[in-house]
Symmetry: C2
Subunit: 338 residues, 2 copies
DNA sequence: CTGAAAGCGCTTACAG
DNA sequence: CTGAAAGCGCTTACAG
């Protein structure tokens, strides 16, 4: 028989309600009563049954973070930021991996799990704009992260993609580079990360009165080291000349960097390189890699604030969907040094 | 008013118990009844209240994975393995970051969180063997991961550290290396990862009748890229001659690799390098890095099996603490090619 | 500031 | 195979 609140109440000669009040930091309690209750808790080794609290209060204290793959450094760092921010709100974070599979993402967002959660931070990877209608009438509040769904019926937090890519490209232009690869652009939809970053790239060139050479707009799939390495090999084989690379994420940038170095291309002397995401590893490559910091902490904190508001508002919620674009920061490192 | 099981029962003209049976895959139900219930669930848009189930059944369906920092690739990959394995047991995984702070680890293991969990996988980083007594009388089952606590009163899963380090060292010896750094060894306690790996290193040398040169046993703190880079710089500055490196984890190996290359040392021609952990990145460095794969999947699956058993056994649990050493695999890559 | 009652929505024995 | 009752351990109104 575990010790219950009732046992504590008896031991302290107060009502069970008073015990609850003390444990929930309800303000108006006589210090003396409070001490007596806390001593009883100590004496009996009482531990709150959080399931009972969750049932009665309607809050479990857990949220879910849905990401494609936690092994990807971008998502690991996002998760760390979310866990830290959640800790400040007394929330625990369940990590769920979707693998970027649309059906699985939908299941997770629709609450097909065996554990109660109060809300979901959903890093969209499998579903797209055309699936936005599936995100209505969900059992818990959901906040969208990333660039794949913009016109959904939900709160949405993402980074300044266009501006970040533009700044990265202008940085290379300022360094005298003229033939810059848009690396990872592909045949992407215009509202994807790739599409938005390509727009920033185009804007940068346009602002200097330069034309976009289609030969410099290259795909790299998947957006992992491997995809970057393969794509860079293809570019080198094709004989296309270039003196700069804006990699649309750090992992493909890292893959490209390895291939460039292996091929005897000097970075930054022959080719300057900027990535995207500011994952920790970029500070430790040789040369260290310039990159666009998406403002991870800001993303995590804003998304959690949105989610907290929705949870507090309950289901009779009529706040209009909100959107937040986190500020980016260009991190200039060795790979683009002039 | 959300739809409850009672509503479903009425709609399907069965008792609430029958609804529960259907939803929990209780076997003996007439197909007809089953269909009627499922149709009612569909019609009413019923969703189980998992908090109520958790209260009544005493199981929340969540476990916690306590790690120092999820941004560290080793722990991110461990987490991915745990989440995948947990999924097969219908468990969700809460990730909690201890920062390696002893007090925080203790709090997490003692269940000071606001969310109910059925058990904890605890990757020990802050506490040590001398704190093992603090791990008695915990509110939920706990399985220990790693090398810091061996004689605790709890189930324990770790890798074959001694054997792995020995194999890595013998691999370099077989390649003709004779002056091999034990990199990351430090003044470590004998039961730490460092201590066990150093033992394997010693055993390998001894098996060939070679002496251990104390000048080759070097510390690297912290066990991150940075610590490895600084330590390797110090070694190079000291003028100690060496032709091989067994790095006691991949991150310090990666830091060392960068410094070696920057200093014009050729890898593997001048110095052969083997790491520890087999994080994904080692396959993509230039040169790719040889490493000891700790058997992450086996660790995750065994630890979860242990935890599942403890949870099922309940608190009247008298199974003796169990220990499991996962099998290692030496991954030979470019950095140690002969 | 504190108490007594009701009830959150399930599952668990216990019947039949 | 299915039902009616009890109760898991809290918090929420409602009083006073």
């Amino acid at each position: 028989m575990p010790v219950t609140m009732r046992d504590v109440a008896e031991h302290a000669s107060v009502s069970i309600k008073t015990v609850s009040n003390v444990l929930n930091d309800y303000p108006y309690i006589r210090p003396e009563t409070r001490d007596r209750v806390l001593r009883a808790v100590e004496d009996l080794g009482y531990r709150m049954n959080h399931s009972a609290r969750a049932l009665r209060s309607g809050r479990s204290g857990a949220i879910s973070l849905v990401v494609p793959d936690i092994r990807n450094a971008y998502f690991a760092e996002l998760a760390a930021a979310v866990i830290d921010a959640a800790d400040g709100l007394d929330l625990s974070v369940i990590i769920e991996q979707s693998g970027g599979v649309p059906e699985r993402e939908l299941q997770l967002v629709q609450g097909r799990r065996t554990v109660p959660v109060d809300g979901v931070l959903y890093s969209v990877a499998g579903l797209g704009e055309e699936d936005a209608h599936l995100l209505a009438n969900l059992p818990t509040p959901v906040v969208l992260l990333g660039e794949r769904i913009f016109r959904g019926p939900l709160d949405h937090v993402t980074m300044q993609n266009v501006e970040g890519a533009r700044a990265a490209t202008e940085h290379l232009l300022d360094g005298g580079r003229r033939r810059i690869l848009a690396f990872g652009a592909g045949a992407a939809a215009s509202v994807s990360s790739a599409g938005l970053r390509l727009r920033g790239y185009r804007e940068a060139l346009a602002s200097r009165g330069l034309e976009v050479d289609p030969a410099l707009v290259v795909d790299a799939q998947p957006w992992l080291r491997e995809g970057g390495a393969n794509a860079m090999r293809a570019v080198l084989d094709s004989g296309v000349r270039f003196d700069g690379v804006v990699a649309f994420n750090d992992l493909i940038g890292l893959g490209a960097l390895r291939v460039l170095l292996d091929s005897g291309v000097r970075v930054p002397d022959d080719v300057a390189l900027v990535g995207f995401d500011d994952i920790d590893e970029t500070r430790f490559t040789s040369p260290s890699m310039s990159t666009v910091d998406p403002g991870r902490r800001e993303i995590a904190e804003t998304a959690l604030a949105f989610l907290r508001d929705r949870i507090a508002a309950g289901s009779g919620d009529d706040i209009a969907p909100r959107e937040h674009l986190s500020r980016f920061h260009l991190r200039e490192r060795e790979s683009s040094r002039r």
